[in-house]
């Protein structure tokens, strides 16, 4: 029996048999090991496990981190399969996405970047703007991500009709309500780690400033920092804009206008910046 070290849970402690019990010859057991009945199917291509089909049943995920890696692998021109697993606990890090390669290794987060570098396909931003790119990625991952998860999980209309179904729709009721509620609380705690109180206007005004900065930085170029090929910065920012713009709109009259207006606030903020919309449309048409 092998002990596989698990990233999240560590290694089980080794228990040594005391010497006085050697006479029991326990080391001879198991006497016969049968071959396993079921082996998971071998992968033919490197597979990325992500959150389920995207808005309107598209190939791109509805989760920002998953879509970033999906589109970046596309930028790199790598052949890969996508499985809509929707199960973060299947991953060694506890989060999706994770990449299962044909030789059997599993990678997540930074390790996927390292794997792509080893394959020689990394899309690196050349020249003097690589450090600025890091700053803008950090801007998107703090301000824009906060507004996105606020809009998805804390706007009542979005939460009840779109997000909880997307993330937990495959789980039978009533467990899916409980899981969605717990995730909502986790989102609140996550937002509170960065700010002292949650005020809707402040979170959206931070997003406004961030979108303005991104729009100014993009200007009229196709990709960020005037690059001729899309890079990791483009992947990150595209994923946020695509998910915000693709979010379902609610048109039935049973819901109050105020709620509908609140639910679509973030989308309207993004639509104000034509160059960001054009940037997202361009990448979507070319790579998705």
């Amino acid at each position: 029996m092998t002990t596989t070290p698990s990233e999240r849970f560590g290694v089980l402690p080794k228990i040594e048999l005391p010497a006085c019990l050697e006479f029991l010859k326990l080391k001879n057991f198991p006497l016969k090991t049968y071959p396993s009945v079921y082996q998971p199917p071998r992968l033919t291509k490197d597979t990325l496990y992500i959150f389920g089909p995207g808005w309107r049943n598209t190939w791109g995920s509805f989760d920002a981190e998953c879509l970033q890696f999906q589109i970046y692998l596309k930028f790199a021109g790598l052949e890969f399969d996508v499985i809509n697993s929707n199960e973060p606990d299947a991953s060694p890090s506890g989060k999706l996405p994770f990449l299962a390669t044909v030789p059997g290794a599993i990678y997540h987060d930074q390790q996927i970047h390292k794997w792509i570098d080893d394959m020689g396909k990394s899309q690196v931003l050349a020249g003097e703007h690589s450090e600025d790119a890091k700053a803008f990625i950090s801007l998107a991952n703090t301000k824009l991500n906060a507004a996105l998860i606020f809009s998805m999980w804390l706007e009542p209309l979005n939460y009840s009709k779109a997000t909880s179904e997307a993330y937990f729709g495959h789980v039978p009721a009533p467990v899916d309500y409980i899981l969605a509620y717990k995730k909502q609380n986790k989102v609140v705690q996550q937002l509170l780690a960065d700010r002292d109180i949650l005020v809707r206007e402040e979170i959206y005004s931070d997003a406004v400033h961030a979108l303005e900065a991104l729009s100014v930085k993009l200007g009229e170029a196709t990709y960020f920092f005037g690059s001729s090929d899309p890079t990791w910065v483009d992947a990150v920012i595209f994923s946020y804009i695509h998910i915000i713009l693709g979010a379902p709109q609610f048109t039935d009259s049973s819901v109050s206008d105020e709620e509908k207006r609140q639910a679509s606030t973030l989308r309207n903020l993004v639509l104000k910046h034509d160059n960001l919309v054009r940037f997202a449309k361009n990448i979507r048409e070319k790579y998705l």
Partner: protein, 341 residues
């Protein structure tokens, strides 16, 4: 200009304040030559949102660094006034890089490294906090640090463990905390800032801007504290001397003299007072728009219908409860009332 008071955490560890946002607030006011007095209130509970720095401008109270900067910008005092739109975009991006990554690295050095926490950080907080905060606040700070460091998969264990006694145990302890990822992140971030600074005097040329205040605020707490394990100081001084010199230059220019201290004002709001003034909003998770509390106008507040209804129901329910109490007491003879004819 009426008096402007800034409530901050007091100086500690050789830095202008123990909290980076307080240093940024002070640096911002000093850079823009706005006269102000300082109150070393080490109690975040005095702030309506529970976070220092807190600014009192005349009769208005503003809590939180971002709100203070927004308020000053509205009054016409802007640190970014001589930047073009692209530089403003850069400023916002680098701002968020610094406030996220440098803060996380600082929290790692302070709270995940047990030797630092027990030997340097905990005693400092014990000194500057008063009773009973000195037993309660460090636990809150540690929980906050844990929440922020969770995304790097760093575990912060309790602080009643034995400190490592020798080199081997220290190495094991460091391995457990995942130090080398964090210090790699530190080097990457320092490299980014170093490249942005280049050989310029400040981040955007010869004039300081908001970004300089922010970078100084967070780097000061990497560079100046003499902790038990002062690896960040070492990295900055040896490998990124330009950044260390930049911090020293900024400190000499703007923090040469101490600001006048003043005592806390009488009408200071606190989380308790916000609870009393707006009870329902206090308990909901997402707050309504947060305006700076303007206490000069709170005498003649018009009550909305809902509030009148709420108060009427409150009066009736309290009256009903008290009546029921007396009826029960008298009916069961616990207290007997004798009527004299």
């Amino acid at each position: 200009m009426s008096s402007v008071q800034l409530y901050v955490w007091s100086p500690a560890l050789d830095a202008p304040s123990i909290d980076p946002k307080c240093i940024v607030a002070e640096a911002y006011l000093r850079m823009l030559n706005k006269p102000y007095t300082v109150v070393h209130s080490n109690d975040p509970q005095t702030s309506p949102t529970g976070e220092l720095p807190l600014l009192k401008d005349g009769a208005v109270w503003i809590a939180g660094l971002d709100r203070i900067i927004a308020h000053l910008t509205k009054k016409g005092i802007n640190g970014n006034s001589n930047l073009n739109p692209e530089q403003k975009a850069d400023s916002l991006a680098y701002n968020s890089l610094v406030q996220e990554k440098l803060y996380d690295i600082m929290l790692f050095t302070w709270y995940a490294d047990m030797t630092n926490f027990v030997k340097s950080i905990r005693p400092i907080y014990g000194q500057i906090l008063s009773f009973p905060s000195r037993y309660l606040v460090p636990i809150q700070l540690k929980k906050n640090a844990q929440a922020r460091l969770a995304k790097y998969n760093i575990e912060i264990i309790g602080d009643d463990v034995e400190l490592p006694q020798n080199e081997v145990e220290e190495m094991k302890e460091l391995q457990r905390t995942g130090w080398h990822h964090m210090y790699q992140l530190a080097r990457d971030t320092y490299g980014t800032l170093d490249k942005k600074l280049g050989d310029q005097k400040y981040m955007f040329g010869d004039e300081p801007s908001t970004l300089d205040c922010v970078v100084f605020g967070y780097l000061a707490l990497h560079l100046y504290p003499n902790l038990a394990h002062r690896r960040l100081q070492h990295i900055l001084k040896q490998e990124y001397p330009r950044l260390a010199q930049y911090c020293d230059r900024f400190k000499d220019t703007y923090f040469a003299e101490d600001q006048t201290l003043s005592s806390p004002a009488a009408d200071i709001p606190s989380t308790w007072s916000t609870l009393l003034s707006n009870p329902r909003s206090f308990f909901s998770v997402v707050k309504d728009e947060f305006k700076p509390e303007d206490l000069s106008q709170n005498k003649e507040k018009k009550k909305s219908d809902e509030e009148i209804d709420f108060e009427r129901k409150r009066v009736w329910s309290i009256a009903g409860g008290v009546t029921f109490l007396f009826a029960y007491v008298i009916f069961n003879g616990i207290v007997s009332v004798e009527l004299e004819d």
